[in-house]
Amino acid sequence: MTPRLEEVWVYLSATPLLGLTLTLLAYHAAFRIYQRAGFHPIANPVLLAVTMLASVLLLTGTPYQTYFDGAQFVHFLLGPATVALAIPLYAQWPRLKAMAAPLAIALVAGSLTAALSAWSIGALLGASRESLMSLAPKSVTTPIAMAVAERLGGLPSLTAVLVISTGILGAIGARYLYRWLHISDPAVRGFAIGLASHGIGTARAFQTGEQAGAFAALAMGLNGLVTALSLPWIMPWVERLLGR
């Protein structure tokens, strides 16, 4: 590199501008591809954007923290966006209220299935305890999952990665599962994807329609609540009964 270019690089690697701009550019490109693919679930924009950014970081040897110093401005918006989910929830309130009892039962069944199946499959295949405790809360939204994993003795930042992978998997796979199970009610579709795949599943549900999106948002919020309240009590008990 010529001295001039080096100077430019020193500037760019120290400012949050680069990480922020790269995040938006990668997402913009990923969303274009998603659009071109006719919103096909396999062209998931989170998966595409993360792949692009991770490749750039690994190829240039940029530490994640340097990148995140810029990208945190986008990350911060998760907070207000979570609050904003109250608006679609309100819009679907009459239908939600009418389905309250079935929703509550499906919520408990799905929430326990998500945590216990992740733990037991991981344990059967020999994952470490830290990884298992990071896996258990993987179906709920990132901030709740990280807090729960920390309580259980998992690694919060590994949990964030597992949570996002779960979200992408659910957003990609749900359509095929619903087709196989002959489920067409957007309320049922939305609720199941929001419960299993939190915000990324909810984002996918909103792309298929407002009703599915609102039910996904409700399931995401409720599963976060149930998981945060139940896992810290259930998991030590599960470990004692089923652990090696």
């Binding site: 907070g79 109250a86 799905g110 990132t142 709740i144 990665v161």
Partner: protein, 120 residues
Amino acid sequence: MIAALTLLLVFQLIGEVIARALALPIPGPVIGMALLFLTLLVRGGPGEDLRQTAGTLLQHLSLLFVPAGTGIVLYGDRLANEWLPLLVALVASTALAIIVTAVVLQALTRRRTSSKGAQQ
């Protein structure tokens, strides 16, 4: 836009304060969402400004997960050692959670609609 964004941040702030003051395991934004929802129920719906701002934020919800997802670069070693149990556990349990939730909800709502139909 600015008024709506301020409102969302105020609700998040109240949520964070409540979560910390009462040492709740629930994150502040989720409490903020619940409080805003209750406020909307009491006051009768969001205004046009709030509806539009929320729509814009939620339309690109996926973007907001990109920075945390890129954190995968930190876990090269662990993923190299444990990729199989982690991958199988993620794929299978995500599918199971979707199937169980959807089937239970479908069965319960269908029974209810059909028993309602029988009464009529």
